[in-house]
């Protein structure tokens, strides 16, 4: 388990109902995934085929990467609405700098993400703007900037090295999935093992207390938003490589909602003070599995969206009951 809580107090014994809720809150998402996999093995033909598993994992990889950053931000009692626009910005920057080589293009795209993170983080940490408003500015402006940079057009990306990023495999596992896996392990380590991770959770738990106890609150907040921007840019680069095109008008649309959903379904409370990295990955996988299951059985997208809405509400209801609020 890669989650830690700000309040380390030992929970008093609770009645059976509360205990069930607490269990659901902690492990419900894994149980739901297990149940869905069992159901799918039973009713979906070719579910266990390598081809299907590869497709599902490749599709979910960008969402997982963005959600990791979102989990950190939500852990500090914030939210980052600009992640979809950062993806658009990254994809718009790549074709502009491909002439200098793939490395330079990717670097510039990542720098773009870091820059957006710096603006968000400065607004939140130094100006004390509410995170939802601060990141709303770049949600609106970021995609516009991406469209201006790209001249409002879709551009084909034909650089072989870059395309390999999206289509090549390491030991049979697609590269985007490997990147998502490595980043997950890294983030779990950061949250659990580093001072930064502890400080982040402490700030989300009680910002005033963190300031009073001398934590570098502003620096940590700034870094959290920079990380979120950076991870969103990574997702943007991978998505560009997979799509073999740079399309800033549609890449990353509604990504902020998918990422927030994954984080919340994974058991990270929106009130901060807790980060569940593995839960977040599981949340993203669960939503992907639900959609894939419904689509495989010819249930329309409309049903998939309504089911997703119910899952979000159920997850938040369980989380609320578990914390006794």
């Amino acid at each position: 388990m890669s989650d830690i809580t700000a309040d380390t107090a030992v929970a008093p014994p609770r009645p059976a109902g509360a205990r069930t809720l607490a269990w659901l809150q902690n492990y419900g998402v894994y149980a739901a995934i297990a149940a869905l996999i069992v159901v799918n093995i039973a009713i979906t033909p070719h579910f266990l085929s390598t081809e299907n598993l590869r497709t599902q994992l490749v599709q979910v990889a960008p969402v997982v990467i963005v959600s990791l950053g979102m989990a950190l931000v939500i852990g500090t009692e914030g939210v980052d609405l600009s992640v979809g626009s950062v993806m658009a910005l990254a994809t718009a920057l790549i074709p502009l700098y491909l002439g200098y080589g793939v490395g330079a293009a990717i670097l510039v795209a990542l720098v773009g993400g870091v820059a957006v993170g710096l603006v968000n983080g400065s607004l939140v940490a130094f100006v004390n703007v509410q995170p939802i408003v601060a990141t709303l500015c770049l949600f609106v402006g970021g995609r516009g900037l991406a469209l201006v940079l790209a001249g409002g057009r879709l551009k084909d990306v034909q650089n072989g090295t870059l395309l390999d990023l999206g289509s090549s495999s390491v030991a049979g596992i697609p590269l985007p999935v490997v990147v998502a896996g490595v980043l997950t392990v890294l983030m779990a380590g950061v949250v659990r093992r580093t001072t930064f991770g502890r400080q982040l959770v402490a700030i989300g738990g009680n910002r005033t207390a963190s300031v009073l106890s001398g934590l570098p609150v502003r620096r940590v907040l700034l870094l959290v938003y920079v990380l979120s921007g950076l991870l969103a840019a990574v997702a943007g680069v991978l998505a560009t490589a997979r799509l073999q095109a740079s399309d800033p008008s549609s890449l990353g649309l509604l990504m902020e909602l998918s990422a927030i959903t994954a984080v919340v379904v994974g058991g990270t409370p929106l009130t901060g003070g807790r980060v569940r990295v593995l839960g977040t990955v599981a949340g993203a996988l669960l939503i992907q599995l639900v959609r894939a299951t419904l689509i495989k059985h010819n249930l329309p997208d409309s049903v998939a969206q309504m089911v997703q809405a119910v899952i979000i509400l159920g997850a938040v209801y369980a989380a609320r009951g578990g914390t006794g609020r």
Partner: protein, 336 residues
């Protein structure tokens, strides 16, 4: 929440007269800043572009702004209670599709069905927020997905576009003109007047401010917190549905792809209008200035011509950032 911001119970007493004067100046900027910039932009636009100050162009700005303005009116109420409604974009689109679908049963059905369904969505959201006490952000996020799903299932996954027959009463409601201004503009103005009176002059309005200022204190004073919140979300849903209905009437069809991302544009307009996202402070007059400001920016960028419309988003985003930073500094200065 360490930034307390200016809330409903901002202390009236001040240490010195000088501070009180400065305080008033800051308050004025916060409340009327958007209006001042709007006037400035109108003057600059009129001097720079001969095609800008024509009646036709201004009427065009008025009608295109009237639809987000109705949605923003409901959003203002929601935000003043300290909540947020992310579902309005989907509900707006749903309202349009429902109106175009239901108009086959007559004009009254075409108006009532979207209002009732969208009001019901607001009711469910309000109940979940006020009674089950789930976070508004999450509930209305689920509402965004749910309403969009409902829209897709009505329109056969977006494959069917229902038309509103030309010349029908509903179509005329959306397309008709009076003194050069479309009917929806007059309706929007009327709604804002009513909204302003309700917010400033009624017990319900006072309850809305009190809840946003300090919810616990409001509950202890006997303000009907849950009921007020539910009404506010129902109101927001109905206004979004009404706006979608009239927009569909204007376009003669229920377009299924509308409204994506509208919730954030509307929130931006409300914030630019001086309503604090922390709740407890704000006005409907500021909101209409905020909506018009974004509409005028878009129109001016279209006038420049060789600039792509993407610049509008960049300018709006930058403008929002400036407003938000200014607001934060102003409200902090007022608290000192």
């Amino acid at each position: 929440m360490t930034t307390g911001q200016a809330t409903a119970e901002t202390p009236v007493t001040q240490d010195t007269y000088a501070l009180s004067g400065r305080d008033r100046a800051f308050g004025l900027i916060q409340r009327h800043g958007a209006t001042a910039v709007l006037v400035l932009l109108l003057v600059v636009g009129s001097l720079s572009f001969s095609r800008f100050p024509t009646g036709e162009n201004l009427g065009d700005i008025a009608i295109t702004s009237s639809f987000p303005a109705m949605v923003a009116l409901g959003m203002t109420f929601v935000i003043i209670t300290g909540g947020i409604d992310l579902s309005v974009g989907s509900v707006f689109a749903l309202g349009g599709v429902l109106a175009a679908y239901a108009v086959r049963w007559g004009t009254v059905a075409g108006l009532l069905v979207p209002l009732l369904v969208c009001g019901a969505i607001g009711l469910v959201q309000g109940l979940l927020i006020a009674r089950v006490r789930l976070a508004p952000f999450i509930v209305t996020l689920a509402g965004l997905l749910g309403a969009r799903g409902l829209l897709l299932s009505i329109s056969h996954e977006g494959a069917t576009t229902y038309l509103i027959p030309h010349g029908s009463v509903l179509a005329r409601l959306g397309q008709g003109h009076l003194f050069g201004l479309g009917y929806p503009v007059y309706l929007t103005l009327a709604l804002f007047v009513v909204g302003g009176v309700v917010l400033q002059r009624t017990g319900f309005g006072q309850a809305v401010y009190a809840i946003g200022g300090a919810e616990d204190a409001a509950a202890l004073m006997g303000v009907p917190v849950a009921r007020t919140k539910i009404v506010v979300y129902v109101l927001s849903g109905m206004l979004a549905g009404l706006s979608g209905t009239l927009n569909a009437a204007r376009l003669s069809s229920g377009v299924t792809i509308l409204g994506t991302g509208m919730e954030l544009d509307v929130i931006a307009a409300v914030v630019i209008g001086g309503t604090l996202l922390t709740g407890g402070a704000g006005s409907v007059s500021g909101t209409i200035a905020g909506v018009l400001l974004l509409g005028v920016i878009q129109n001016l960028i279209n006038q420049i011509g060789d600039l792509s419309s993407s610049y509008q988003q960049v300018v709006s985003g930058a403008f929002l950032a400036v407003v938000v930073v200014a607001q934060t500094y102003l409200s902090r200065a007022r608290r000192l």
